[in-house]
Amino acid sequence: MTYLFIILYAITLIYFALSERVKKFVWLLSIQGFILFGVVFFSLHTLEIFDFLFILIETILVKSLIVPLFLNKVRKHNHLKREHEPSVPVFYSIIVVVVTLIMSFILCNHLNNNQIHTKYFTVSFASIIFGIYFIIIHKNIFSHVVGYLIIENGIFLLSLAVGSEMPMMVNLAILLDVLMGVLVLGVFINQIGDTFKSVEIDQLSKLKD
């Protein structure tokens, strides 16, 4: 059952590469949230109940509802309709996604040892690498946050690998998520939007030599 969600997650990544509308990013994020919820639900039931519930609630609330809503608010506040042409054509991005996925699947095959569950790694690696790639190719800071959140989700998946032994790590991942990903970055996007009247990165490259 977990595998289904993992595959779904991989597909969302491809959609990230495909889509150009900012609104769609938000949607995809919330979808990812639901997928993660599913993953947690089917894999972490070995935990004692409180941790389990906490994680479930976090995924369903934060990842799939609060964050997307908040981001949507920010998006509206800054009148972001659609992403400008990314610096790399979509066509190539898709190729990159596929390559990353393949690479990470192979990698996990290499890493495989019986004590830990490498099945989460597959997409999580892909997700992290793709997140970085996503940030690199996009020129507006809203998308940067999105990319960052993609990395977050990857890390969350990764943390599930030890989730059964160390739920603490999962909680930390969540903390990272909530604190950095949303509040601070969101706040700053608004600030920047107000100050610079735009969230294009070119506005934000004064500090250089």
Partner: protein, 653 residues
């Protein structure tokens, strides 16, 4: 102790800062000189506990070599600080209290650090004080820091000194890690005993040679000296560059085998330094730059002495060893004397005329006779003419060479021949150069209006010069006084110093001949005055060979034309560029023209300026990483991760 005293400067008033500095200097001078003298008297090595350093305590080790250097340093600093009073005076009013304090503070620290350099043996401490010496001298050099040029020079100087210290550091470390002996000079003996000393010595030589200004490591020297105020350049050229020589001597003390190559190496470098240095000196117009090049030349002469001595040790010719080292070491003293004298007098001229370009000077002997005569004294001494001190040291070297000609082997003989021929040429060129500079500055008539208001400087700027002059003449006339301590120093390098005693009669008769010389001059002078009393002495213009419209101020010989026939000989070396516009075809009535000549230092251009410029350009070109775009920053991280990953995957690291 006195170290704390130096900081008082900052809290004192402008007008007494000088005296505070003077007193501190005096205190240091007295203490250290007592140590030095007692080292000579007791003919042993004093060891005085100094301070805790990285756990263990640090000692002063004062052997004869150190003592000798201490005395030289103290004397030069003494004259320097006395001279400084007059020289600094015009600057005081337009400089801030702290700046003046900073200046004297650095002068003090230059003094202290030089003393420490010669007194410390621990390598790390040595490097520390060595760099402090460079630093303080650097801040002294940029005293007139309003000029951008001065700063540029200063930074060049700082960088090159740093490179020098890096060489020394590497050399020490290499010696340390290959033997594990004590991390100090004494530790070197272990290394040299067990390894081939040549390459490590080369490292040391590079490190110390930059400070000493051997060609081709000299390029800081001709710039730093003119930039510095004269009392500083006097001290720098007088003793600071000798610290390099000290280092080389100190290292040589620990080498006891395979000395021949080292000796030949030193000799070749020194000969080229001497010849090239003096040749470049001849074409200079800036008097202090000219003197700086002469420092290079004299370092070369010292080096010749040392190289001779080393070869003597290697070939086991005691007389060559003794007289080589003896001559070299004596020349250290002599050069410190006449070079500081020359710099001080040149400084006085600069103070009165505000120009260092000798083409604007002339006829100053009538305006500032004392300064002129002192300069003449220095000029005669530095040209190595009897009966002055420069001759004595060169005489030692010469007689060492000639005495050992017969007993030396073939190869050594050829080397010897070349070196005394070289030494002669150096002497001749020095004579050529100083006839030029003296007569252009002080003789003839004024070449520009700058000279008019020049007057004799005040006594405080003359006293030190007279002091130095006295010692110069003393050494020149009774060299015998200085032979006993000299033999003590030389005894550190070679065991049997009998050879010096063989020289005693010669030196005595030199004093005698000098006496006769002076007597002859006196007698003939009397004769002439007696004769001229009975004749009419007329005043008449210089004879213009029938051309009565001659105007000496315009038509008298200039420095450039004086040097010209030499420049033709050595055009490859001195790179004299002439800038002028040729006459046009239809130009019947030619209008005014400018004719300029510039000389440039071949070695500096090709070894230093060009490569460093290229390096800087390249670095500037590739400095494009701070783009200000977050994507790029993350890209670095990603690339780094992937690269390391693959390096690991293929077991490259």
């Amino acid at each position: 102790m006195t170290v704390l005293l130096t900081f008082i400067l900052f809290f004192t008033q402008k007008d007494i800062q000088y005296y505070v500095g003077l007193l501190t200097h005096l205190a240091i001078i007295i203490i250290t000189s007592i140590w030095a003298v007692s080292a000579f008297v007791s003919a042993t090595t004093l060891s005085i506990a100094f301070m805790p350093f990285l756990g263990e305590t640090l000692n002063f080790e004062i052997d004869q070599l150190t003592a000798f250097f201490i005395l030289v340093i103290n004397f030069t600093i003494l004259t320097g600080i006395i001279y400084a009073k007059g020289y600094i005076h015009p600057y005081i009013k337009n400089k801030d209290k702290t700046e003046i304090a900073w200046h004297f503070f650095n002068f003090l620290w230059l003094h202290i650090s030089m003393l420490l350099v010669v007194m410390l043996r621990d390598a790390l401490a040595f490097l520390l004080v060595w760099e402090i010496m460079s630093l303080s001298s650097f801040f002294l050099v940029i005293f007139e820091s309003e000029k951008a040029e001065t700063l540029k020079i200063g930074i060049k100087y700082l960088i090159q000194m740093h490179i020098g210290v890096v060489f020394l550091m590497v050399a020490f470390i290499l010696a340390y890690i290959q033997t594990g002996a004590a991390f100090s000079f004494d530790g070197l003996s272990v290394y040299f005993a067990s390894h081939n000393p040549f390459w490590l010595f080369i490292l040391f030589f590079l490190g110390f040679g930059i400070k000493a200004g051997f060609i081709p490591l000299h390029s800081w020297l001709p710039h730093a000296h003119p930039a510095a105020p004269s009392h500083v350049s006097g001290v720098m050229s007088g003793v600071m560059i000798k610290m390099g020589i000290y280092g080389i001597l100190r290292v040589l003390m620990y080498i006891h085998h395979d000395l021949f190559n080292i000796g030949v190496f030193i000799l070749i470098i020194s000969l080229s330094s001497g010849l090239i240095g003096v040749s470049l000196a001849i074409v200079q117009h800036d008097v202090k730059k000219l003197l700086a090049y002469h420092s290079i030349e004299n370092i070369g002469i010292i080096g010749i002495g040392i190289g001779m001595g080393t070869i003597g040790l290697a070939e086991d010719i005691p007389i060559l060893a003794v007289l080589g080292f003896g001559g070299g070491i004596l020349h250290i003293l002599n050069h410190s004397l006449f070079k500081s004298l020359l710099f001080y007098t040149a400084g006085s001229v600069y103070k009165q005329t505000h120009t260092r370009n000798i083409e604007h000077l002339g006829g100053l002997i009538k305006k500032m006779p004392k300064t002129a005569l002192l300069f003449l004294l220095g000029a005669l001494a530095i040209s190595g003419l009897p009966p002055f001190n420069g001759f004595i040291s060169e005489f030692l070297i010469y007689s060492g060479m000639f005495k050992s000609l017969h007993s030396a082997g073939l190869f050594t003989d050829v080397i010897l021949m070349f070196s005394f021929a070289g030494l002669v040429i150096i002497g001749g060129l020095a004579l050529f150069c100083f006839t030029k500079v003296f007569s252009i500055i002080f003789l003839g008539t004024a070449r520009s209006s700058k000279v008019e208001q020049a007057i004799e400087v005040n006594p405080t700027m003359l006293i030190p010069n007279f002091l130095i002059g006295f010692v110069i003449i003393l050494i020149g006339f009774v060299p015998i006084l200085f032979m006993q301590p000299l033999s003590q120093i030389v005894a550190l390098f070679t065991i049997d110093t009998k050879a010096i005693n063989l020289l005693i009669p010669a030196l005595n008769s030199i004093s005698l001949s000098s006496g006769i010389f002076i007597a002859l001059i006196g007698i003939i002078w009397l004769l002439r005055s007696w004769q001229q009393k009975r004749q009419i002495i007329k005043q008449g213009d210089t004879w213009g060979c029938g051309y009565t419209g001659a105007n000496p101020a315009l038509h008298q010989y200039t420095a450039t034309s004086y040097a010209d026939n030499f420049v033709q000989l050595s055009s490859k070396l001195v790179h004299m560029k002439k800038e002028f516009t040729d006459f046009g075809e239809a130009e019947i009535f030619p209008q005014n023209r400018v004719f300029e000549t510039h000389s440039s230092d071949v070695f500096e251009d090709n070894l230093l300026t060009k490569p460093s410029n290229i390096l800087l350009k390249v670095f500037y070109k590739i400095a494009v990483f701070q783009t200000g775009k977050i994507q790029h920053y993350l890209l670095y991280a990603l690339v780094f991760l992937i690269v390391i990953f693959f390096l690991t995957y293929f077991n490259l690291i």
